[in-house]
Symmetry: C2
Subunit: 147 residues, 2 copies
């Protein structure tokens, strides 16, 4: 099945700060969308909203500092039941983030868009961790007429 893959390295001596940015509403609001609500702990449900729509996620798994998995429960039909994995690892002075959005049924044009946009948001996460300031929606980098 088609999947979207990405990687960033964040200057940080531990993966704990990355973990916090993925497992708290405050952290998620700092790099993905400022309209984030819900419970980011394992077993919780998260609501991410953007000007054009949004996604509901189930927090399937949280291993602090190592791994987070979400499953999409509502949103665009192409996203429903897809999963998003965040694998964290320390490499010297870098906290490495390996990202995978799996379970796309077809490599549709919306997947092209989402792939580029995920890259933009991972760089926003990197900026949040390194400089204390991300670029979450609605102040995110726009890539095309879809946003």
């Amino acid at each position: 099945m088609p999947e979207i893959l990405h990687k960033v390295g964040c200057r940080s001596t531990t993966t704990a700060a990355v973990s916090d940015a993925l497992t708290t509403v405050e952290g998620l609001s700092g790099w993905w969308t400022n309209d984030t609500t819900g419970d980011a702990a394992e077993g919780g449900a998260l609501q991410f909203r953007f000007p054009a729509g949004g996604f509901d996620m189930e927090v399937v798994e949280v291993e602090p500092g190592r791994h987070v998995r979400w499953r999409v429960t509502d949103g665009p039909e192409e996203w429903v039941d897809t999963t998003i994995d965040w694998d964290l690892r320390q490499d010297g002075d870098d906290a490495t983030v390996l990202f995978a959005h799996r379970g796309w049924r077809e490599p549709v044009e919306f997947m092209h868009h989402c792939s580029t946009k995920w890259g933009v948001y991972l760089l926003s996460l990197k900026s949040l961790l390194e400089d204390g300031r991300g670029a979450p929606s609605p102040d995110d980098v726009k890539i095309d007429s879809w946003d």
Copy 2:
């Protein structure tokens, strides 16, 4: 086979400028790497060099304003014989660029890195077209310890 997909829209009333940025050494030097040499026309061979290495490409197909295909002839082993397709289309005031890097054998960590990095370079291409200035290597956005 795993593939890297991306999309950007560039404010432009025709796809001709995008085509120029993909089919001339000057254009390619303006958004991917300033160390670009060779012949970017159909049937030509291109050499792209970066501080850490580089890629040689065969220009398999050029349909001006519509499509460009490259095949990797030398470089990192994961890249050899992969293909890179650029599909261009006009959508109102936007020249839409659909990108696909196909033929990866495995979704290795290097593919995660290259996916994010391609996103960075497509945004560089968009900046070149819209603002007259891209961010090609060695002045590209760094994403991790690999570059």
